[in-house]
């Protein structure tokens, strides 16, 4: 998408005074100030105070941040975030680009676009669910006594592998990772297939005439041509992974212990469960900073790497 700023310059009409359009920004600006800027400022202030949710916040400077730096739960939550970046960004992108290429460049030419469209819709379906609903569904599948996972293991004679999937700190994070991959693949498949449809078919035809096999075409053409899409997907899904909340809230509440704790849930529980508002605000501020730095960093990396590529 081209931003407004890069649109061709338009000569301002002489009939029309400059300015005067500012009035139209007022509703958006008031709303944005009230819902984003002021609350974010208040959050930064709260992070510098000790506040139990009642009474007056007491200013304590950077004490909350010092406490954070020494809090193993805080560090555990960011380590888990890295795992979830793999679950929501890296793995779905890798699988998605491959599935999209197979559907687009292997299934569609041989069996028709109808077959590939239906399969794409099947991969996409988890994306239409509210994440809370997906969480309830998987919570039931993982239930230890009568859950689907263990019942199926029993019925195929592998009862010895029964697990308390979400209740065991060794398996819980992988159980959550599995759900996140299931949720995310559809997003990447759909975006990459949309990307492939803008690639000039002549490229593939020329490569095929030159005797390039499917894997060669995939490596040389698909991966190259999809670079802009891959960059966008990695940025948006990494940001989403750092923010992940609903699946954790529904599936594990960060537990057992801190084995699935993430920064967003840690700050939520500091606010509303343990009433350490200042501490929760500090976690949220750090998270906001980390996300902004990573998003801007990825964006810069992407513009540098795709320069001369898109145009």
């Amino acid at each position: 998408m081209t931003s407004a700023a890069t649109a061709p310059p338009r000569r301002r009409s002489r009939l029309e005074p400059a300015g005067g359009y500012w009035a139209y920004l007022i509703p958006g600006a008031i709303g944005f100030a009230a819902v984003v800027l002021i609350p974010f400022g208040m959050n930064i202030y709260l992070s510098l105070t000790q506040y139990r949710g009642v009474g007056t916040p007491v200013f304590i400077g950077l004490d909350n941040y010092a406490r954070l730096a020494a809090d193993p739960t805080f560090w555990a939550s960011f380590v888990n975030s890295i795992v979830f970046i793999f679950a929501m960004a890296i793995i779905p992108t890798a699988l998605g680009v491959f599935v999209a290429a197979v559907l687009f460049d292997f299934i569609a030419p041989r069996f028709g676009t109808r077959v590939s469209s239906i399969m794409r819709a099947m991969f996409y379906l988890p994306q239409i669910l509210p994440i809370a609903v997906a969480g309830v569904l998987w919570k039931w599948i993982y239930q230890p006594e009568y859950g689907v996972g263990n019942s199926i293991l029993d019925s195929i004679g592998l009862g010895a592998l029964r697990q308390n999937w979400l209740g065991d700190s060794d398996t819980a994070i992988w159980a959550v990772v599995n759900v996140l991959i299931w949720l995310q693949i559809g997003y990447t498949v759909v975006l990459f297939m949309a990307g492939l449809s803008r690639v000039d078919p002549a490229l593939y035809e020329a490569a095929e005439l030159d005797g390039a096999g499917w894997m060669t075409r995939f490596r040389m053409i698909t991966l190259n041509q999809l670079r802009p899409e891959i960059a966008v997907v990695i940025i948006t899904t990494s940001v989403a992974a750092l923010k992940v909340f609903a699946p954790i809230f529904v599936l594990t509440k960060g537990g057992p212990g801190t084995s699935t704790m993430v920064p967003s849930y840690f700050s939520f529980s500091s606010f509303f469960t343990t009433s350490q508002v200042g501490y929760g605000a500090a976690v949220a501020t750090v998270l906001a900073l980390v996300i902004t730095v990573i998003a801007v960093g990825l964006l810069l990396f992407q513009t540098r790497n795709t320069e001369g590529f898109e145009k």
């Binding site: 819902v35 309830v136 759909v190």
Partner: protein, 307 residues
């Protein structure tokens, strides 16, 4: 979940490109049967199995939602139910007053979609058509709404809504979500309006149209298809939103479908089929929207792909 739902693909991108999309691939180009071969069928079967695995959880919810609990315990989760038992679904529906949740979700999502689209249009009008000074910076500030996690806004919003008497009211959530979503809408519409044909605007000005008339008589009608797509996305995103409604709408009477289902976790552990029934109740509206909105979303293919 954020304003942009970065992890979610625009539903539109799922649909086949509208006619006239860039370089449509000739469908029958290499579609000869002879090219299918054994390896072709093997790949097809492998892909079909993967695709079916993606649907397996949905299938489990469907078949077990109607299975009597005793039968579930005897024959397990993968057998088809021998009788259709609606009791788990009915029990869930009544215990959470699901009709009420559906109404709440429709009211909140519908209001947010319309208000957010209106704010987006007006702001984008100033940025894209009015080309106000510093518009790049204005858009950059709006981008903050993409990166700031809602956790960094939620406690102040909790304090402010309590002060203003908007806590635990649908109005409060509607205002907040409208503003957050309009940041995305503004960003998207501003770039579209930036490419608005200048001759049309010029002609209108020569005819003496005021800025407001240009907005309502020219820009609005011409961007209506884009607005329809935005409204659809806003509706679905709000429907699926979880975090802010969870915090700001605590009472059962105001809750949305998403929050009501999310709050189920921890309950219902004794009855093996009730969670399947609850999941199915949550899946159905999402599936219905998807089918209903397909036509509108078809027009948004261009909005969909790479932003």
């Amino acid at each position: 979940m954020t304003v942009i739902k970065p992890g979610r693909a625009p539903e539109s991108a799922l649909l086949p490109p509208a006619t006239g999309a860039p370089v449509p691939r000739p469908k029958k180009r290499r579609g000869s049967r002879s090219r299918r071969g054994v390896s072709g069928w093997v790949v097809l079967v492998v892909m079909a199995v993967c695709a079916l695995l993606m649907l397996f959880p949905f299938w489990l919810a469907l078949i077990n939602a109607f299975k009597p609990a005793e039968e579930y315990l005897q024959t397990g989760p993968t057998s088809l139910p021998t009788t259709l038992d609606f009791s788990a679904l009915v029990a869930f529906w009544q215990s959470v007053d699901f009709n009420q949740k559906l109404v709440n979700s429709v009211v909140i999502s519908g209001s947010v979609a319309l208000i957010a689209a209106a704010i987006s249009l007006v702001s984008a009008f100033a940025i894209g058509i009015g080309r106000v000074k510093g518009r790049v910076w204005i858009l950059a500030i709006f981008m903050l709404a993409f990166t700031i996690p809602q956790e960094a806004l939620v406690y102040p919003l909790f304090i402010l809504t309590r002060e203003l008497g908007l806590y635990d009211t649908q109005l409060g959530v509607i205002i907040i979500l409208s503003v957050l979503q309009s940041a995305f809408g503004t960003y998207m519409l501003a770039s579209i309006l930036g490419a608005f044909p200048p001759e049309v605007l010029e002609a209108a000005r020569i005819d003496g149209a005021s800025r407001f008339q240009i907005l309502t008589r020219i820009v609005f009608p011409l961007t209506r298809p884009t607005l329809a797509v935005l409204i659809t996305f806003f509706f679905i995103w709000t429907w699926n939103d979880f975090f802010l409604p969870l915090v700001l709408l605590p009472s059962a009477d105001n809750q949305t479908v998403s929050v009501a289902l999310g709050a189920l976790s921890g309950q219902y552990t004794s009855d093996p089929t009730s969670l399947a029934a609850a999941s199915l109740a949550g899946i159905l509206p999402a599936l219905i929207f998807f089918l209903l909105f397909q036509r509108t979303l078809m027009r948004g293919v261009n909005l969909g792909a790479v932003k």
